[in-house]
Symmetry: C2
Subunit: 128 residues, 2 copies
């Protein structure tokens, strides 16, 4: 029985309003800017609850978790080590190969995360 409280609705609305990957602090700050002040612990709990219900998606980066809207089809991420930008890509062949690998080993997949690290087009051009 997870409740969709006013605070959680505000967090969800904010995430759905933009197409980006938020961390908890960014959400709290953006809400405060709009006059909606939510305790940071509540933001963390709200994000966890929303992700739990599938209302938002999350990716675990090395240092922190980032959240995004869930109304996009499944995708994985390219993370630029130069500027920190995050691009998205969808490759169904990779997804089915993952399923094949898991099945071969009797492993029941609950989720996966594929991160490609490197330099985005812009940062690559700036390299010398």
């Amino acid at each position: 029985m997870q409740k969709l409280t006013a605070q959680r609705q505000a967090i969800l609305d904010m995430i759905n309003r933009f197409d980006k990957h938020w961390d908890a602090d960014e959400i709290a700050y953006a809400l405060k800017e709009e006059g909606i002040s939510i305790g940071i612990a509540t933001v963390y709990r709200g994000l966890a609850a929303l992700a739990d219900q599938g209302l938002i998606e999350s990716i675990q980066l090395a240092d922190k978790k980032r959240y995004e809207r869930a109304d996009k089809s499944h995708h994985d991420h390219l993370v630029c080590t130069g500027c920190g930008s995050i691009e998205e890509f969808c490759e169904p062949q990779i997804e089915s190969l993952q399923d094949k690998v898991a099945e071969e080993r009797g492993f029941k997949i609950e989720g996966h995360q594929l991160l490609l690290f490197g330099l985005c087009k812009t940062c690559k051009a700036e390299e010398s």
Copy 2:
């Protein structure tokens, strides 16, 4: 220039002696068991230095980094959410699809990490 000191050699030897994925504390504890006591900060620095030189490999899990020997061919990981065990797999087709995706976007890949989460064969069987 990074030195391969006695402490770092001991860490490297330990990692090369077993085929597992170690965190920093496990390394420090295993060494102490053998009478080799190394400061925890030195263990962290040693692991970073060894990984930097390609003498060991690392994977970033949600909570912590884990290290393994580097004398195996590249592979990715299946992480059991039941017992925490880590299996390995190698799927060249996935690797080449990653390269294709990156190339299409002008993204220069420096590395990647693919984690499959779920239940290993044993834990799946125990699920009622």
